[in-house]
């Protein structure tokens, strides 16, 4: 586990090791720590939008004593055929998960970039923090229990704009092909029922209707329904 102070020290170290500017998006627990919604996280998840920045940070991490974990199949099994494979760098009792353009089938769209709330500069490393709405959306792509805890905590602490979440899930279906509103319905329904998260009933119903409509459209068109939930 790593707290925000240690995380930022590592970012500073990476920033000084970088020869040129590299920018990335902080997602998950790492982003939550910047918002003060979490005190520590298991791993630091960063998404890069260009291969150059991705490689620069990978090299910088290597130079400060991190090593690439070779066997990442159990964690990122679905990336077997993906073009932009993530990497895991381990060291100093910390793990960095570096993604390129997408996280478990969820593409970093221009609307996600527009919603960025904070930008932190650590020398040459620029870390942009995605919005709480997008953190929730990214958490819905996984099946881990702790991700549900995190999402419930975000819903409790922030005034979540549900319209943004619904719109982005539909947008992800358009650009990625996955049936995101279905995942989202499943995820939010569980949060409401099992974690007692305060999600308006009409939002759940709205997402359910959108999900049903997309499923019917996909089935009618005879297209393959991609399911990449892990």
């Amino acid at each position: 586990m790593i707290n925000i102070t240690d995380q930022n020290e590592l970012f500073k170290l990476i920033g000084t090791k970088l020869d040129e500017k590299a920018s990335c998006l902080a997602i998950g627990g790492s982003a939550m720590m910047f918002y003060g919604a979490k005190t520590e996280t298991k791993d630091v998840d960063l998404v890069f939008l260009d291969k150059k920045s991705f490689n620069l940070v990978k090299k910088a991490l290597y130079e400060i004593g991190f090593d690439e974990r070779k066997n990442i199949k159990p964690i990122f099994a679905h990336y077997d055929i993906a073009k932009d494979k993530p990497i895991m760098m381990e060291g100093m009792d910390t793990r960095f998960d570096l993604f390129l353009n997408e996280v478990i089938g969820f593409r970093i769209s221009s609307s996600i970039i527009d919603r960025i709330k904070e930008v932190h500069e650590f020398g040459n490393l620029i870390v942009k923090i995605i919005s709480p709405e997008d953190i929730i959306l990214l958490k819905c792509a996984t099946e881990r229990e702790k991700d549900r805890d995190d999402a419930a905590s975000l819903i409790e602490k922030f005034n979540i704009e549900w319209g943004v979440i619904i719109k982005e899930s539909m947008h992800q279906t358009e650009i990625g092909g996955d049936i995101f509103p279905v995942f989202l319905f499943d995820f939010l329904y569980e949060l409401k029922e099992s974690f007692k998260a305060k999600i308006p009933k009409e939002i759940i119903e709205k997402i359910m209707k959108i999900g049903e409509k997309i499923m019917i459209e996909k089935i009618k068109s005879g297209k393959h329904i991609a399911v990449k939930k892990f």
């Binding site: 925000i4 930022n8 970012f11 500073k12 920033g15 000084t16 720590m33 910047f34 918002y35 003060g36 919604a37 960025i116 709330k117 904070e118 930008v119 932190h120 500069e121 650590f122 020398g123 942009k128 602490k157 922030f158 005034n159």
Partner: protein, 208 residues
């Protein structure tokens, strides 16, 4: 409603009036509420036009990390303010006025550069400005914007040696803001060999 829920319902930018309206309370009570929320570290105050106070309310207290970023420096030191879409924080070192000017130029954004003109009045170390300008190859743009700022704001006189050094800089991209040039400040454009994006009316904001 407890304080946490009140802060959650007010999250974002508010004025005293919007808070009073949303919660159905008097202006006086809204001011008291802001005071309590500020004590809890949930409120940051800024100023809009005509010195109207704008309160940025957060639902949870954020960790106070890093130093002020470009937009905070501009808003603190320039008469003309800029609205930042995102919060910018610098880690590892404090952003100086001189560095902030260079960063504002690097943004290539009309409003950011216009508001940053006000920073020329707060420069303490001209050689530091030259150092940053040389590093980012922006010497001519810095010199030209200094001259533009002088037409509208009372600005400290630049050291002659620094001015000469700024003039010696190479001419790269002539545009300060991409594809924007005005019909004014032709003499400054000619001297520095760059295109000024502002016209005289744009600088009127400094005289309001």
């Amino acid at each position: 409603m407890d304080l946490q829920n009140i802060a959650k319902s007010l999250e974002g930018l508010q004025t005293v009036d919007t808070i009073a309206k949303r919660l159905g309370i008097s202006r006086r009570t809204a001011i008291n509420l802001i005071w309590i929320l500020r004590k809890k570290g949930l409120v940051e105050t800024g100023y809009g036009k005509r010195k109207i106070r704008l309160y940025r309310i957060r639902a949870i207290k954020k960790p106070d990390i890093g130093f002020k970023g470009l937009y905070d420096i501009i808003n603190e030191n320039s008469k003309v303010k800029v609205f930042a879409k995102e919060q910018h924080r610098i880690h590892g070192h404090k952003l100086t006025i001189e560095e902030a000017i260079i960063r504002a130029i690097e943004e290539e954004d009309f409003r950011t550069i216009l508001t940053a003109l006000g920073l020329f009045n707060k420069i303490k170390d001209w050689s530091r400005l030259l150092k940053f300008a040389k590093k980012e190859k922006l010497t001519r743009k810095v010199g030209a914007l200094y001259d533009v700022a002088r037409t509208a704001i009372k600005v400290k006189r630049i050291d002659k040696r620094i001015r000469k050094a700024l003039l010696k800089g190479t001419v790269g991209d002539k545009y300060i803001v991409k594809k924007i040039r005005s019909a004014d400040f032709k003499d400054i454009e000619k001297e520095w060999n760059v295109f000024i994006p502002f016209n005289k009316a744009d600088l009127g904001v400094y005289k309001e």
